[in-house]
């Protein structure tokens, strides 16, 4: 393998892991509640903006990494309680449209608060600088993001398989009526799940902040990518989100190397191909 291929592999994986953390939140919400949240990318953006403010005020990236996702999670919780609750049981189009309305509000809202311009934050000192990999210097921070993906995956896996709360959520996801009958407070579970999903989006936002320019349209771009990830992996499937994210990351990275002309179309071709050939996604449940 040539050096560039290896570096692209790394790039793809790093981007994939960022996508994974965003998509896993999206897919948790969909898996449990059946809601496809259009505003998920905007939550990610809000996470990045909050990180910007927290870092400017306290100069601590690590504080931002803890605080911002919680704030975004609270925002998600409010969204669920105030807006989504009245819509359960109605056509899914309405949920899609409601969250689309939220996207509009949040995208313009950050402009009102933080202005229309671009902002940037530095990587924390501990993670700035580069290391030598395959004869190329590679930023440590990117490796950090690449490592964060598997860690998040592991924590979530433990949560959902080992903890009582995780099991309750899974029960609610399987069969709402059954969960009701078992005395599980399903509305509370939904709220908790929305908190978790938004928390993850916010966390991805913080992680992305030192990598990208922070601007009002960053959410729109990522939401489409996240949609593609969850559809490719299988809506509601955790391992699917991981696989989908890695695939999309690699497609983006290698697309530039091998087919720069149609690189932009590749994610959509991937999306359409999967929907047609395996509509439930690569690792989606049959049903």
């Amino acid at each position: 393998m040539s050096e560039i291929t290896l570096i692209n592999l790394l790039n793809g994986f790093c981007y994939g892991m960022l996508l994974f953390i965003i998509s896993i939140g999206l897919t948790v919400i969909f898996g449990v509640m059946g809601v496809l949240n259009f505003a998920h990318g905007s939550f990610y953006m809000v996470g990045a903006y909050l990180a910007l403010t927290i870092i400017e005020k306290t100069h601590s990236f690590w504080l931002a990494l803890v605080l911002a996702p919680v704030l975004v999670g609270v925002l998600g919780t409010l969204t669920e309680v105030l807006f989504l609750r009245p819509l359960y049981g109605r056509d899914v189009s309405f949920q899609l449209l409601l969250t689309f309305g939220l996207l509009l509000i949040l995208d313009d809202g950050v402009k009102l608060i933080w202005g229309a311009g671009y902002h940037s934050v530095d990587a924390p000192r501990l993670l700035s600088g580069t290391v030598n990999i395959f004869g190329t210097s590679y930023p440590i921070y990117s490796l950090f993001v690449a490592a964060a993906g598997p860690v998040v995956a592991l924590v979530l896996w433990l949560f959902f398989t080992k903890s009582t709360y995780g099991k309750i959520i899974r029960a609610a996801a399987m069969d709402r009526e059954m969960a009701d009958a078992l005395g599980i407070n399903v509305p509370a579970v939904y709220t908790a799940v929305f908190f978790l999903g938004s928390f993850l989006a916010g966390m991805a936002g913080v992680l992305a902040a030192p990598l990208r320019a922070i601007g009002p349209s960053m959410g729109d771009k990522i939401i489409i990518a996240a949609f593609i990830v969850v559809v490719v992996g299988g809506l509601g499937s955790f391992p699917g989100a991981f696989l989908g994210a890695v695939i999309l990351g690699l497609v983006e990275a290698f697309g530039v190397q091998f087919v720069p002309k149609i690189q932009m179309a590749l994610p959509y071709i991937l999306l359409a191909a999967i929907l047609l050939l395996r509509p439930k996604g690569l690792l989606g449940r049959e049903g």
Partner: protein, 401 residues
């Protein structure tokens, strides 16, 4: 209900009643005020308002006050067109200024001709609007791609770099910049080579790492970069992390010396790379420039960007032309603008009658740290005379009617 009817009726009659007061000159300004390049609009608006307030305070033009209406183009041609219609038909403006994106400028010039409204382009750099698409109503007071890139090629020719590649936005501007760069550099340095591996990421790309990787893997001597605004900021941040600037490449950023970029990046902007601009606030020690920079810094707290200067200069160009024509009559103002020479902060600007393109000095320089400034400045600075870097009218493809 009555209110709704009133609103509907008032919309029906929009523009049907002429509010034109005889004692004002109305100017419509179209810039990007939202999205990835919103800072451009912000700077332009600031520069423009500075000029307008100065002129109005000193009694206006021919005793008439200036009135400005701003519209957001969103960097999209169709929205810009709507803005033009709104300004011309509803606000009844006399002149238009603006346009950041080349794509926007190219798409609207023929409609401007149809509307017969004198327009001064202050930013968009595509050679076409003063080239093969030129027309009587369209002027430009700012540096175009030809001028900027010709200067870049002159710098490139003096470096040791032989193998060149590019990273630019994936639309006409990026592709044309690279095309001209190759053409001019080849003329100056026949030994120059242009690589097959080039990168044209889409405007508004988030993740530049794959592009940076592929350029670094190709191992060039020199990299010509025509990214701008948010894209350039994004690129520099990611490239810096990947050690792109430590490889010893000769790097030319054709729009790297835009102050909005420098402000956003501050000390993340590497030093010692060549950056170009369409105006640099330290390039010219004339009284006009000193006054402009001081007034601007005082009013807005930052140093003016090229877009601020260009908008400022456009308003003064209109002032001088109207005074020269002694009338606000559109045809007379056009006559006066053709061949106008005036002193702008950027220096002496001459508007060539043959294609309506401004001839002015072009500044390039190397980024450097200076404790007196919060941003990178240019040191050393290289200034090219307008005539040196502007192709003759015959080479532009312009056929003015």
């Amino acid at each position: 209900m009555r209110k709704i009817i009133a609103i509907i009726l008032s919309i029906c009659f929009l523009g049907s009643v002429s509010f034109a007061k005889k004692d004002t000159i109305k100017i419509g300004a179209i810039y990007i005020f939202s999205g990835f390049a919103a800072t451009y609009g912000q700077f332009a608006k600031q520069g423009l308002l500075l000029a307008v307030d100065e002129i109005n305070k000193s009694g206006g033009i021919l005793g008439k006050k200036l009135e400005v209406y701003f519209e957001d183009s969103h960097a999209k041609p169709d929205i810009a067109l709507r803005a033009i219609r709104k300004l011309v038909f509803e606000k009844k403006v006399d002149f238009l200024v603006g346009f950041d994106s080349s794509g926007v400028a190219k798409s609207v010039v023929s409609y401007i001709k149809e509307l017969k409204i004198p327009t001064i382009i202050t930013h968009a750099a595509t050679p076409d609007v003063t080239g093969k698409q030129c027309n009587k109503y369209v002027f430009r007071v700012s540096v175009n791609i030809n001028q900027n890139v010709m200067a870049a090629a002159k710098i490139a020719a003096k470096t040791k770099a032989v193998k060149w590649t590019t990273i630019g936005p994936d639309y006409a501007f990026g592709h044309q910049s690279w095309e001209y760069f190759q053409k001019y550099l080849k003329q100056l340095n026949p030994k120059a080579q242009f690589m097959k591996t080039v990168a044209f990421p889409k405007v508004g790309t988030e993740d530049y790492t794959p592009y940076i990787t592929s350029i670094m893997a190709a191992n060039p001597d020199g990299v010509f970069i025509s990214l701008w605004s948010g894209d350039l900021i994004n690129f520099v941040k990611q490239a810096r992390k990947m050690g792109f600037f430590d490889k010893g490449y000769t790097i030319l950023m054709s729009l790297g010396a835009a102050t909005e970029v420098l402000y956003a990046l501050k000390d993340q902007m590497p030093t010692g790379i060549w950056v170009g601009t369409r105006y640099w606030f330290l390039a010219n020690d004339s009284p006009v420039n000193r006054h402009f920079v001081e007034a601007y810094k005082k009013r807005y707290g930052v140093y003016p960007s090229y877009n601020a200067q260009n908008a400022y200069a456009a308003i003064y160009a209109l002032k001088y032309a109207i005074e020269k024509a002694k009338s606000t009559d559109k045809e007379k103002v056009i006559k006066a603008l053709e061949g106008l020479t005036f002193e702008a902060p950027a220096g002496k600007i001459y508007i060539r009658p043959g294609d309506h393109q401004a001839i002015l000095n072009v500044t390039w320089g190397k980024t450097a740290y200076d404790p007196h400034y919060p941003i990178r400045i240019l040191k050393p600075m290289v200034i090219f005379k307008g005539e040196e870097v502007t192709p003759p009218v015959s080479a532009t493809g312009c056929k003015m009617e």
